[in-house]
């Protein structure tokens, strides 16, 4: 490449010689025409005597006259033109003069053309070199950008994973918060029955003490039956056994009922948390709704009314615990939307392919323009810090894991209507 390039590199102003400038083909015709004008021989010679070009023959017998004219290049004498002709040829001088002028013009023009060509070539060469360098630079920069772009992809992937992890972490936290709320409700619920069970057991303890004392008393008596009877009646009256007899069954009944309530609450709690269930199972919609309402009762405001109208549905695909979680979130949402006078309606209906479950409240509803965004993570209409913006996002995710879909609309008579559609799995039918 380099070697090839050196061949076409010119120095502006480099010297040229007459041979280069007088290509014989170009000039031959001119010289030939001179012969037809009667000239015997035409020669173009260099200063050293060598011929560049010649036409005609040297016929010394015929050639009586010889005309020599200098030829110059850039004004510098480099050779001469030799014209031989017959003695007495009147036109010889004129032909020689014309010939010399013509040759000078050819030399001058060829020199000009060569210099232009050389200049042009060196410009093309240098422009080409610059282009090559530019091209190299551009390739390098392109490579750099390609690398950047590739790195960018990796970066985006990393960030996406990071976001995914953060999202999962938030979901987990949201779950934990719900579990905590559940626990608080449960504690409240258990407190009541346990309170009166405690109190009843203390009273029962006292009563049992009295009965035992009565027994002791009987054993110590050695007196006659009549007196015993009288004394026994007296003692029984002293111990208020009549009252005890009446009260003890009440206490026992109450305590048994309280203990049963505690058992049921714990059972519901277990049901809602599904601690002993595996994933990928199916769930009974009605059972889960009832369980959830049962454990959430304590968290609803005193003036809230809840109605529930559920049809029988086949087992639905999905994790029951997760569904409970979703329902808890939706109910909490309703409670927050309608702090007082909440009317919450839950219900379900089914077609051959789908089960629709709805939760409706009597709040102000969800404005049309927000409906596409309320299921987005971190979207919240509440004050900063008051809500995580994750409640409905969690619901959305859970419904999706169940293979269902959720939408929001207007409830009849105002308020928000959340509708969840569950597909009925073939196996479940």
């Amino acid at each position: 490449m380099n070697r090839h390039r050196e061949q076409i590199e010119y120095l502006v102003g480099q010297e040229h010689n007459l041979q280069e400038l007088l290509q014989s083909l170009e000039i031959r015709g001119l010289l030939h025409e001179a012969l037809s004008a009667g000239v015997l021989q035409v020669l173009i010679m260099l200063e050293d005597g060598s011929a560049v070009c010649s036409e005609g023959t040297q016929d010394s017998a015929a050639a009586g006259r010889e005309i020599r004219m200098p030829l110059s290049l850039e004004g510098e004498r480099v050779g001469h033109l030799l014209v031989r002709g017959r003695e007495g040829d009147a036109a010889l001088d004129a032909v020689a003069g014309i010939l010399r002028s013509a040759i000078s013009i050819v030399v001058h023009n060829n020199l000009k053309r060569m210099m232009t060509a050389e200049m042009h070539t060196s410009l093309v060469t240098s422009t080409y070199d610059e282009l090559l360098a530019k091209n190299l630079e551009l390739s390098a920069s392109e490579t750099r950008y390609k690398e950047l772009a590739q790195n960018l992809e990796v970066k985006v992937r990393e960030r996406t994973e990071e976001l995914g992890r953060a999202h999962a972490r938030l979901l987990q936290q949201e779950k934990l918060a719900s579990v905590g709320q559940l626990a608080a409700g449960v504690a409240h619920e258990i407190n009541n029955p346990i309170g009166f069970i405690n109190s009843n057991l203390a009273t029962l303890g006292k009563y049992v003490g009295r009965l035992l004392e009565m027994l002791d008393w009987y054993q110590q008596q050695t007196v006659s039956a009549d007196r015993l009877t009288d004394s026994a009646a007296l003692k029984a009256k002293e111990l208020k056994l009549e009252m005890v007899k009446g009260d003890v069954w009440d206490l026992l009944d109450q305590s048994l009922a309280g203990a049963e309530r505690v058992r049921k609450i714990v059972a519901d709690l277990k049901g809602v948390s599904h601690v002993d269930e595996v994933d990928g199972a199916t769930f009974d919609l009605r059972l889960e709704v009832e369980r959830t309402l049962s454990v959430m009762k304590a968290q609803l405001p005193a003036d809230a009314t809840v109605s529930c109208d559920l049809v029988d549905t086949p087992p639905l695909a999905g994790n029951g615990a997760l569904f409970c979680q979703a329902l808890v979130n939706m109910i909490q949402n309703a409670v927050q939307a309608v702090p007082s006078g909440l009317v919450l309606k839950l219900g379900s209906f089914r077609s051959s392919e789908k089960v629709r479950f709805f939760v409706a409240d009597n709040g102000s509803g969800v404005p049309e323009e927000l409906r596409s965004r309320i299921f987005d993570p971190f979207f919240s209409t509440r004050d900063v810090g008051a809500g995580t913006g994750m409640g409905l996002s969690v619901v959305y995710d859970i419904v999706k894991t169940c293979g269902g879909s959720i939408s929001v609309g207007d409830a009849p008579g105002g308020g928000a209507l959340f509708t969840i559609e569950f597909p009925i799995s073939r196996e479940g039918v």
Binding site: G13, Q14, E74, G75, E76, M115, T116, M119, L123
Partner: protein, 218 residues
């Protein structure tokens, strides 16, 4: 230097008239061609022009023979001044033995002068010529025009450079031969150091300059 052949006893030198567009570089050459003796110079070759503006270069060769028989050919070039022809300027500047910077004296052209001189500095360094040592003279042309920068001001600005500054009106023929004499004088000094023009070839500075700058027809 374009060429130096000891066997042929021949030396071909290059002088370049540099400067901003329309400062009168070609006019300098035309005037030299007109004024100087025909025996000592060759033909003026004006390569293609567009709207009377040089796009490649102009060339005027001069000849002289030293007493030793050394044939010296001085080829004087102009460059296109327009900014877009920078590649051409660079090509012409290659292996130059001396530079005449033709500046436009008009006040409104001073920015162009500065830009062009900076361009000369840059291109000299690109073609490997040291601006500190290369023979260089400055010509402030168009002194015949109104609204020109004052001579005192020019001297004040250029005195620190140590470069000869000449004033000319190329179109009227004033100062053109003087400029050529200044650059050929500098060129001689430069060559004499390297080739011993005086000692080896018997060519004195005056003889060199006078022969190149001989006014014709006198």
């Amino acid at each position: 230097m374009i060429e130096y052949s000891q066997s042929e006893n021949r030396m071909v030198l290059k002088l370049v008239y540099y400067g901003p567009a329309m400062s009168g570089k070609t006019t300098n050459l035309l005037t030299l061609h007109e004024l100087l003796a025909k025996d000592d110079r060759g033909d003026l070759m004006v390569l293609d022009t567009v709207d009377d503006r040089t796009i490649f270069f102009d060339l005027l060769p001069f000849f002289l023979v030293a007493p030793s028989g050394l044939k010296i050919k001085v080829k004087v070039f102009t460059v296109p001044g327009q900014v877009k022809h920078d590649a051409t300027r660079k090509a012409v500047l290659q292996r130059a033995d001396g530079v005449v910077f033709v500046a436009d004296s008009q006040i409104k052209e001073q920015v162009n002068n500065t830009n062009s001189f900076e361009n000369l500095e840059q291109n000299l360094s690109l073609v490997g010529i040291d601006i500190e040592t290369v023979p260089l003279v400055i010509q402030f042309n168009k002194r015949d025009l109104p609204e020109i920068i004052e001579a005192g001001e020019i001297d004040r600005l250029w005195s620190s450079s140590g470069l000869p500054v000449l004033f000319s009106s190329a179109i009227k023929g004033d100062g053109v031969v003087e400029t050529f004499a200044a650059i050929t004088g500098r060129l001689y000094e430069h060559l004499d150091e390297k080739f011993g023009l005086a000692a080896l070839h018997g060519l004195a500075k005056d003889a060199f300059v006078n022969q190149l700058c001989r006014i014709g027809g006198l």
